[in-house]
Symmetry: C2
Subunit: 199 residues, 2 copies
């Protein structure tokens, strides 16, 4: 949800929409967006379908609101980084760690964002914003190479895709509060990517 959208709704609706979205995101995750029917959502939220349609225009808006939440959180990481001083390689490490934190904190929403393929208008919008995100990341990697802190024998665009492919792959198995901790994942990922696995 963007600031603009949040502003137009009174407080009570905000909360109920928030709760609705929380359950909906989990259902979309469990069964996939397409495989989840409005009937499924009705059951999961304990409301009737009609009641859901009172809050949103349809299934697609539910997806749009969910992925918008993830995009807002991810772009906030980049915006924060833009305001920072210091070598690009340090800012890159900060973005890496912050991305893992966002991913952990907004796991259902980020997972949905990463699984969106561009079938509907809302999905194509999300894909476009992801591309913009990727371009800004690539620029950061390129700067770090130019500053001499990252090896210059690898293509920056390719490196960016690999690095953030690694980050994104976390959504396929990372579950907060079970298995590996967020801090350990963050440290191991940064260690592997920057220093490599070789002893």
């Amino acid at each position: 949800m963007t600031e603009a959208e949040r502003r137009v709704r009174p407080r009570e609706q905000r909360y109920s929409l928030e709760e609705l979205l929380h359950v909906v995101a989990q259902e979309f995750l469990r069964r996939g967006y397409d495989a989840t029917s409005m009937e499924d959502l009705s059951r999961a939220t304990g409301r009737t379908k009609s009641s859901i349609y009172h809050h949103v225009s349809g299934k697609e808006e539910l997806l749009r609101l969910a992925v918008a939440r993830a995009l807002d959180a991810l772009f906030a990481v980049l915006d924060e980084q833009d305001a920072q001083e210091g070598p690009a390689v340090e800012r890159l490490e900060h973005v890496l760690r912050a991305s893992v934190r966002v991913l952990a904190a907004e796991l259902p929403y980020v997972t949905l964002l990463l699984r969106v393929r561009g079938n509907t208008e809302a999905e194509r919008w999300a894909v476009q914003r992801r591309r913009e995100f990727d371009r800004r990341l690539t620029a950061l990697v390129r700067t770090a190479v130019d500053e001499g802190d990252l090896r210059d024998d690898l293509d920056p665009a390719l490196v960016t895709r690999l690095v953030f492919g690694t980050v994104n792959s976390l959504v396929d198995w990372f579950r907060p509060g079970s298995g590996h901790g967020r801090q350990q994942v963050e440290d191991t990922l940064v260690a592997m990517v920057l220093e490599g696995l070789r002893a």
Copy 2:
């Protein structure tokens, strides 16, 4: 398709099933499995729905055949590795490179496999086989650590997930014959994972 399944069908059916599967996999990829209707598949293959039902029991079997193809190719990489001599770290590098090659060669099938979430019986079977694949990879990484060739300050299970998360993320953007070449992707991935990005 496993050897067992291949054996029961006469040659002509094998070919038409192969062609059918090729088109079906592309459709599943483009719209997602759930969003693709039998009507869509009918149009894409130039056959009627009834004709498709003559070859397979239903939509789910089409998915099962497709992901089985990917699993066969991936397990072949591991089986080949098991027969090799030499340090585990070298066998790991070989598995990494071979996985990228399999992914490039069987891109639609591997992509489908990686997007399967366990909604149906066929999907749960695929998820289980992926877990087995992951266990065998972890054992290889662990051996490489024990042999002193990989750093021992990182958890092998976590490292395995990160490394093959990176490999798997290729399906989200890698397209053979456009953009980065397969060899460059392979080399860059191995370089990043083993030696790290730091200059």
